[in-house]
């Protein structure tokens, strides 16, 4: 009896094992076909029912987990902003102390709280924890500081009024603020349409005769981010305002601040009236090629993904460099390595120019202080200090923006170039003033090569016992 011809027994009966084998074979075929059919039917169902509302949402529902019951994919991807270990060449989301990395920042921000504590904020998930932990927010802080940190804010503003919310004490609002940046900040809970919940952006658009209601959906996919990722200041101490009335460019903002005579702090060393730029991400992006082409923030930072037959927006907001395939490569169809290298070249150039501007600015602060020490009057120093004010705002406009210039490479380099020019011009003015007082040699700049040394120098100036800078 041969195994290869089991049926060829004289009696016409196959051997015993053929029965069970046949049963197993047919069962396996039927099971696999059934599984295939079930898989196809599941995909069909997925494609037709992307959302399943299991729980209607209250108008001001702040709890992201409640939204997550209806939108599990979006919520699960959002929860990944908890990851605080991601790194790109120039950014990422990990515990990072900018002052340790770059002691010159201690000098440039000398006279403001940024000189004492300036750490990288982590992902959206940590917004409430991170704002409560920074030393820049002290007992005198106002409710305004919560504005961009929690989904409880729209609810509180609706109940209290925005003005009252801003004017409240930070610590008094603390018990009512629990949920980090999330769904409510950008979405209408009934329709999931994107909406603007923060009055500062609404007011800024109104000042330019625009309403968010008139914006197309694709534009809203950037504007919801612009609610917070924008330049702002506190008018009259508490009221959150975007300086957009003249325009979004750095020159138009400087003109706005000059016209409103606004100053964040008087610089400890040079006594220049400094405006601290606050991450003008949207404004810088708006001048770039991606904005020109109609690419929204969400296209790169919250790319579409597919899961089976379902297409959804990733709510894992992060650097596109951490997922080049879905963010860049959907349009730029080259290899991931090539794309990443291209971006890093642009960023490295910006970083180089930024470092040069920082050095020029630090030198300018000390040169102007030296001119003051040599006996120059405030009226004579006003021109040099004004140049420093403008140069530093320009540098900060790029430096405090995310993306190391990539949001608008040419504009970032232009701004940094102007910043260097103005910083050097102020040094030129200071040199003339020094020469007028008979000081021809270069002023002695103190050693600020470490954070501690820089902090000691700044503290000495702030306390009115500065080292002599005269040669």
């Amino acid at each position: 009896m041969s195994l290869s011809t089991p049926a060829a027994t004289p009696s016409g009966r196959p051997p015993r094992w053929v029965g069970p084998a046949l049963l197993a074979l047919v069962a396996a075929v039927v099971v696999l076909l059934g599984l295939l059919a079930a898989s196809i039917m599941e995909r069909r169902w997925e494609a037709q029912q992307p959302a399943l509302i299991v729980r209607p949402l209250a108008e001001w529902e702040p709890d992201n987990a409640a939204w997550g019951e209806n939108y599990p994919r979006e919520h699960e991807s959002y929860l990944r902003t908890r990851g605080a270990t991601t790194r790109t060449k120039f950014g990422g989301s990990f515990p990072r102390d900018y002052l340790d990395e770059d002691p010159l920042l201690v000098v440039l921000y000398g006279g403001s709280a940024f000189s004492k504590d300036y750490r990288q904020a982590r992902g959206h998930y940590y917004s409430v924890q991170d704002v409560a932990a920074t030393k820049r927010v002290g007992p005198a802080a106002v409710g305004t500081c919560w504005t961009c940190k929690s989904t409880d804010v729209p609810r509180l503003m609706a109940a209290m009024g925005a003005k009252e919310f801003y004017a409240a004490k930070f610590d008094d609002l603390r018990p009512q603020v629990a949920h980090p940046i999330g769904c409510q900040d950008c979405h209408d809970p009934r329709t999931m349409t994107l909406r603007i919940t923060r009055p500062a952006l609404r007011d800024a658009l109104a000042a330019r005769a625009r309403r968010p209601e008139d914006a197309a959906h694709q534009e809203m996919r950037s504007l919801v981010c612009a609610q917070c990722h924008a330049e702002y200041y506190f008018r009259e101490g508490t009221h959150l305002v975007f300086p957009w009335a003249k325009g979004l460019s750095v020159e138009e903002m400087i003109a706005y601040y000059d016209e409103h005579n606004f100053t964040d702090y008087t610089h400890a060393v040079s006594k220049a009236a400094i405006v601290k730029a606050q991450h003008p991400d949207y404004e810088l992006y708006a001048s770039g090629i991606h904005a020109y082409r109609g690419v929204a923030c969400a296209d790169c930072h919250m790319p579409y993904r597919t899961e089976g037959a379902v297409k959804f927006t990733s709510h894992h907001v992060q650097s596109p460099l951490l997922d080049v395939a879905v963010s860049c490569a959907v349009c730029h169809r080259w290899s991931e390595e090539e794309i990443r290298a291209r971006v890093e070249v642009v960023q490295a150039k910006t970083a180089g120019a930024k470092a040069s501007a920082e050095k020029a600015l630090a030198a300018a602060h000390f040169d102007v202080a030296a001119a003051a020490q040599a006996g120059s009057a405030d009226a004579d120093l006003a021109g040099a200090r004004r140049l420093i004010r403008h140069a530093q705002f320009r540098w900060d406009y790029v430096a405090s923006s995310n993306g190391m210039g990539f949001h608008s490479p040419q504009e970032a380099m232009r701004i940094l170039g102007e910043a260097m020019k103005e910083a050097q011009e102020s040094r030129l003015l200071a040199a003339r003033l020094l020469a007028r007082r008979g000081v021809a040699a270069e002023p002695k700049h103190p050693d600020v090569s470490t954070r501690e040394k820089a902090a000691a120098v700044v503290a000495a100036f702030a306390e009115g016992r500065p080292p002599s800078l005269l040669p």
Binding site: A7, A37, R305, V330, R333
Partner: protein
């Protein structure tokens, strides 16, 4: 001659399982029938016959192709060419179906086991096929040019064949034709009384 006809007779006898006893024949035919029936149902659900045609709807049986379909439909080629005009070889019926079978087999394996990448790129086998199809229609345009070294493809420069870009983000809320129902019409309506 005699040998050949004898062999043919043996094959026929085996196809009908004649050497086996009646009971075995019945059992094997029943089992085969069950598997065949389920295969027919699966083929119906999978819209399998559509793959024999050149209709572009066949390509969106699989949902990951929705953005490719939407960008093609709205682009210039949507007026003149269907998916298979570019993505299937036109060197003969056998080559066309062999290519479809190989590509389709790989696609169904990938999609069923959730191995699909987020960004779809051309496979190595697809590139020469598409290039040949570009030239099939547009060959006159480039007849006077010399192909550059390094095997340049038409789409290295003409990147916008599927609209501005063929991607998830270029078709955020694309409408797509619905798949035909898996059930039968008369089952939905019910039999007349």
């Amino acid at each position: 001659m005699q040998v050949a006809s004898r062999r043919r007779g043996r094959i026929r006898r085996w196809l009908l399982l004649e050497p086996l006893s009646r009971g075995w024949r019945a059992a094997i035919f029943a089992a085969g029938g069950a598997a065949l029936g389920l295969a027919i149902v699966a083929a119906r659900i999978a819209n399998a016959t559509s793959y024999l045609s050149d209709a572009p709807g066949a390509c969106i049986n699989c949902h990951v192709m929705t953005d490719a379909y939407a960008t093609w439909e709205r682009g210039s080629h949507g007026l003149a060419a269907a998916c298979s005009d570019c993505h299937v070889p036109h060197t003969g019926l056998a080559a066309a179906y062999a290519f479809k079978a190989a590509d389709g087999g790989r696609h169904s394996y990938v999609f069923t086991l959730r191995r699909e990448p987020q960004v779809l790129r051309l496979s190595r086998g697809a590139e020469p096929v598409i290039q040949a199809n570009c030239l099939r229609c547009h060959g006159d345009l480039v007849a006077m040019t010399r192909p550059a070294a390094g095997g340049r493809r038409c789409w290295d420069c003409h990147m916008n064949i599927h609209g501005r870009s063929r991607s998830l983000s270029s078709s955020p809320a694309a409408l797509r034709p619905r798949l035909p129902p898996a059930g039968l019409d008369w089952m939905k309506k019910g039999l007349p009384p």
